[in-house]
Symmetry: C2
């Protein structure tokens, strides 16, 4: 799903990853993290696609909301599992969304 126009400025977390061969428990954990993220204060939306790499972008009202999500204990535990088991490589980028344009046919 595409996240529609939001009022700028807001924040984006761009998470890109290459998975390892171990997918044990990954799907359930990813679904749980999506549910949990949506419950966080300041969460605005999430966009995700996966082919050769996975790209997930989540949107947040403030940097404080991103920090709180980072420090969520269940999230932190799953992140640690991800480093041990599911991810070969990732990059996480924290960005300020300065301008946005939408188009719809």
């Amino acid at each position: 799903m595409i996240v529609d126009n939001l009022e700028t400025p807001y924040y984006a977390v761009i998470f890109t990853k290459i998975s390892s061969e171990n997918t044990d428990g990954y799907r359930e954990a990813a679904q749980r993290m999506e549910i949990l993220a949506k419950q966080q204060k300041g969460f605005l939306g999430m966009e995700s696609a996966r082919s050769e790499i996975g790209v997930t972008v989540s949107y947040w009202q403030t940097l404080a909301a991103i920090s709180a999500w980072k420090n969520n204990m269940e999230h932190a535990a799953v992140r640690e599992l991800g480093r041990e088991k599911w991810y070969k490589k990732y990059q996480l980028r924290i960005c300020k969304v300065e301008r946005a344009y939408g188009f719809e046919n």
Copy 2:
């Protein structure tokens, strides 16, 4: 491919889209745009994945580099075709990357 650590700050263009049913000429145009983007001054890298939606993130040294790419005539012509034919819906977000973390197993 994942774009590795770059020195912050830099800029990201997050392009998320839902395709229309008309894919005529799309693949060739997308490949050509990728080649052309890589030739632009200030281009730093690109990450892309596609499943239910398409998410493409390109990275740039400056906002001026993003503007120049936006105004590239061949790019503008293809963007117009995209609106007419290939895209049902899209969002384009211009962001300043403030912090970034990498992980590799």
